[in-house]
Symmetry: C2
Subunit: 149 residues, 2 copies
DNA sequence: TAGTGTAATGAGACACTTTAACAATAATTA
DNA sequence: TAATTATTGTTAAAGTGTCTCATTACACTA
């Protein structure tokens, strides 16, 4: 791929803000970018500890708003008492379809989004920065299970 | 209007579940339905206290999942460390457009939702129960303000 | 009407996530 | 080198939401 790497993006962002690129931040970011998946602070923290990386939770919490502002990650939903995040840079924008029974999450593209964005810009005058579409329902498997009961 | 009242809906729901319709629950529900607006637990609690209605927070917290399951309210977004809810029964389904600067929230209809719902049913086999579309951006006023700076 | 079982309540304790304060440390700048 | 500023880990604190528990209210039956 010929797009800028996440680290480059982030270093530029820090530089612009007069902030520092520290070893701790690098380790956290690399860990996040390793899986390119949903994550939350606690599992990220534990995963790093298991690898022997000793980073305090506070540093993770402090890093998250920076990564969000740099456009690398995004809040996706609040569940089980804490926020879940998602790596987004270089990913196709997508929506979440979650089963209310088994909690499984599938991703899908919203083909209408470009139209919607245009409408919101024209009709409401907004400068759109991001959007989040979350659909809840029963997945096929859980639907079957409910029938049998 | 000739639709069932919220209280009727809720009483039916309780009956079906073998739960009880208590004065406390009635007071909370009436307070929620009074404004038909977004709310969170703490402000609802304080509002009731100011009116001299003494309801414990625990009762509000306990009631919320019931109201959600009865289809009367919905979680709308998590902000400032707590969840915000919205009365939905009898309301046109709508989406939220929020300004990241002034926090103002506007509502709009998503004309593409019926198509999307159909697609998700057919392509993913889901039985859809609800959807939440939240768009963030800069409102016209804040956009102007930023230009001047 | 009395008795029994279940649900609901308020109060407070509790668990948990996230933020803040602080002193120590590292990087940057003059 | 000295001064400044950002960052870190630790610890404390704030805040939300859940749980426990004793008590109360209700529904049902005898």
């Amino acid at each position: 791929m010929n797009q800028e790497s996440e680290l480059q993006i982030f270093r530029k962002y820090l530089q612009k803000k007069g902030l520092r690129y520290t070893p701790e931040r690098e380790q956290i970011i690399k860990e996040i970018f390793l899986t390119h998946d949903h994550f939350d602070v606690d599992t990220l923290y534990l995963r790093m500890r298991q690898k022997g990386l000793q980073i305090s939770k506070a540093s993770i919490y402090r890093l998250i708003p920076l990564l969000i502002e740099a456009g690398l990650i995004e809040e996706v939903f609040f569940e089980d008492g804490h926020m879940h995040y998602e790596y987004i840079y270089g990913h196709e924008p997508h929506c979440h379809l979650r089963c209310i029974s088994c909690k499984r999450i599938e991703e899908f593209r919203d083909p209408h989004w470009p139209d919607m964005e245009k409408m919101l810009k024209e009709k409401f005058g907004y400068e759109i920065t991001n959007y989040k579409l979350e659909v809840q329902g029963l997945c096929p498997a859980c639907k079957e299970k409910q029938k049998k009961e």
